[in-house]
Symmetry: C2
Amino acid sequence: MKEKLELLKLLADETRLDILNILLHEDSYVEKIACELSLTPATICYHLKKMESAGVVNCSRSQFYMIYSLNREIFDKPLYELIKKDEPVIDANEKYKKDVLSHFFKYGKLVQLPTQRKKREIVLAEIAKQFKIGQKYGETEVNEIIHQFHEDHCTIRREMIACGIMAREKEIYWLIKT
Amino acid sequence: MKEKLELLKLLADETRLDILNILLHEDSYVEKIACELSLTPATICYHLKKMESAGVVNCSRSQFYMIYSLNREIFDKPLYELIKKDEPVIDANEKYKKDVLSHFFKYGKLVQLPTQRKKREIVLAEIAKQFKIGQKYGETEVNEIIHQFHEDHCTIRREMIACGIMAREKEIYWLIKT
DNA sequence: AGAATGATTAGAAAATTGTCAAATTACTCT
DNA sequence: AGAGTAATTTGACAATTTTCTAATCATTCT
């Protein structure tokens, strides 16, 4: 991934594009390119070395000159290949949770409480993240927190107890598991 | 051409690549992206606006949110399309001269004086660029300048006079036409 | 109309990067 | 070995760009 960004940065410079276009036409060497572009050899060398270490150009010596040439295969890929991040490794379970959550939450609000127990637990666990373990909460407090996600805080609150995520004693609630 | 460079510059930034990868997966909005990337909404907005004005992303409002989405066609082109400069408009005569010169000069040295008059004139005119109009040169001086290009400065010097590029009076030479 | 919320802009600080002049290195040719 | 030539490195400077904070703007909801 890192190399893709490096390649893009490399290509995103006017001088380097000019150099590449010269090399697209024919192999060349530092001084000649410098002359054609009205820049100093030092500058051209700086760019060529940068591109060489990224594998964009190759160089070989001929007499006094370092002949630079293009590594043309690089330019065949579609742009899409360069911007796409390699898939992060994420286990199937995580992916499932993510899908469930993105299905039932829209813009951070719970659209509907899932009927399937497994999905419902995932959704409730997400809401439970708002509570800290070891802390005691009053009922009003619990309601307010849940209300951020859904109108019907009563149902949610009851469900959280039912599936063992929270516990209650009289008017006091607390988180059991994250 | 200018737009190609702009597009490359746009893509050559880590944050913007991150944003594009999020949008590749699903449309999203400023705050959410900011949260996912641990940056401020101002920063994300800066990047999105930049990409929008380049046509890389589109946006539309939905409730409180500005939903940004990708303009996916852009990414189909091969990289080659982005680096290649559009052909400069160059008249046929110029192109002919260029071809003749690149054939007879190698690494800045004249390999051989063309026998064809037309080609010879082109080559001589190229060498004549080293002289300034209106200036007087001694013979040694003329020889030294010509010698940069070819061993046999005498022949070249004689030819320059013969085809009317330079004039001579006694030991003094000067350029007639460029 | 007013409160709330997300998006955008303005201004400033920090980081990155392209360029050059001058010095050094690497190589070629006698 | 030494002279000559092109390439490269170094250090400094200038220009550009990313990011943030704070303030403002535009919508939506009550």
